[in-house]
Amino acid sequence: MTEITANISELNRKAQRKRNFQYSLFGRLLRNPGGIIGGTIILIFVIIGLFSDQLMPFDPIKNYPKERLQSPSLQHPAGTDEMGRDVYSRLMKGASNSMAIAFTSVAFAGIVGTILGAIAGYTGGAFDNLIMRLMDLIFSFPTMLLALAIATALGTGFLNTVIAISIVYLPIFSRTARSTVLQIREFEYVDAARCIGAKDARILFRHILPNALAPLIVQVSLGFSWAILTESSLSYLGLGTQPPNPSWGSMLSQARVMMELAPWLVIGPGLTIMLAVLGFNLLGDAVRDLMDPRLRSKGL
């Protein structure tokens, strides 16, 4: 008898666990078609980016003059470029580059922007004014143009591109964090925490911020696609990743000259950018629908 009850409770626990999973964020994401498709695309890109060195069939930088401008074949699924380099391998290396820049810049903008916005919203007063006017200043430039200007001022290279992209994205995070913190700091549990003698830093980072994360995660997931587009635009204009390191944008701009001769050089990188942005957009929309029902887009 005890064995049976034990079994039943074990079954209940399993059913409960399954239900918990189904209602969890991840479980709901898995039942959202956009989330599934977007998540799969991004997962593939991330895996390729992480293991690009092992997955690449050819060296993306070394020249093979004998094999130049070959159209797509089994050996070179995306053809070869004017220096005989395998475009498929270069796209993989470019994925690693793009993903690294996108993740680093969104993480940087997210962390710095959230902390600045949260402190501004919590303390208020002069600091709040200073930070928010600074953010207004950044916001008063067209985004692409500001990224361009910062990249120009700082110069090219991985870190500079990351800084350019994240500065442009800073105001979005700080504004989101500030507005949420402004709402939450009026709640009673914040007063309660203050009554038992918690210091400001503890209240802000232990009690307020964890409850303000939902809209920020939404912004993070929406920010990736923009970061990828910006990086490829900067590289297209010659201000992002520098040759001979492959980047989707710079591959496109180099291939323009040979468009008539070798259209695959233009089509490959373009489709790759499109696919990556599409994946992040789908995932971002799905995360937004789940995390923040108020912002929910009807359909799509």
């Binding site: 020249n63 220096m83 008063s140 430039f141 067209p142 985004t143 692409m144 143009l145 361009l148 200007a149 120009t152 001022a153 700082l154 110069g155 696609s225 587009l229 490829s232 635009s233 297209y236 204009l237 010659g238 201000l239 040759p243 001979p244 496109l252 323009r256 468009m259 008539e260 259209p263 233009v266 089509i267 990188p269 373009g270 950018i273 499109m274 696919l275 942005v277 599409l278 957009n281 789908l282 887009s297 009807k298 359909g299 799509l300």
Partner: protein, 354 residues
Amino acid sequence: MEFQIPDLALKNKFYPHSTRIMHFKNKILPQHYEKDFNAKIYTQKTPDNDSDTARHLDRHLPDHAHDPGDTISAMIGTQYQLTEAQAESLRAYYGLDKPLVTQYFNWIGNALQGNFGYSVRTGQPVMREIISRFPLTMEITILSIILGTLIGVAIGVLAAIYRGSFFDAIIRIFAMIGLATPSFWLGTMIIYVLSVHFKIMLNAGNYVSFSADPIGNLKQVISPVICMAFSFSASVMRTTRSSLLEEINKEYAQTARSKGNKERRVIFGHTLRNALIPVITLVGYQVGYLFGGVVIIEQVFALPGLGRLLLNGISQRDYALVQGSIVFIASIFVLVNLITDIAYGFADPRIRYD
């Protein structure tokens, strides 16, 4: 050919450029070169055309050539072949050796009086360059806003009317693709398909202005406008669709329906106007995005607009030009945002500004 220029006038940072060039050629260069200046230019070695071009160049460039650098360091290693000492004296001459703060306030003081300085490369006042390039950029932006809004709203309304149907699904997939397509790639593909497959060269030849040849101008402008309008109409469509879907389920729409109005009248007579308020917001705030996008699109189609001016300025390190164009575009952007806020008041009488 000896020009006598008073030294005092040369200290002035904004002395006309032609005089500066003359001074550079006649006074500064002879001090530094024993040999003929022209001989220096033509005996410059070009690097071998091998795979190691980048590394090859590296060895010959001073260390700071990898920094963004100033105009003077852009001259090092190019036709002028300046030594460090010569570069230093040139920097002193152009006022580039002063502290950045001093340079900045010099610039801002002049900018406030409408003087953005002179382009180092062309010698023209920056403001004149900007004004001459601006109409094209404005034309592309405005045309793509109009085209994108018209298409986006029309398709968005259709998608909302036939919600849940196959047509709706197709439209939504196209919108997702439209949002994900980089405009510079779309532009490249348009050029490729038109020129290679249909033998139409819309953007060949020199740019003609609208006043000189309206048809020829529109021919050159149409493909960039389509590029910009493509992703723009996708976001307009999404906003139109979702806000119209929200509006047609509200009570006043139900009331209109229960009074016997046809669905068409409910949508076009009652709900569409309310549903367009978020679209106005979107259009207003996307203008800045489009402005940024035009910079790239002009590069793709080789159109001499503001963006190309800016990018050329960047690659030539013509900082007066770059600063001037960026400040100019940002001012336009802020102005457009202001206009958007005012336009709300007309679209939605509930919004009042005190």
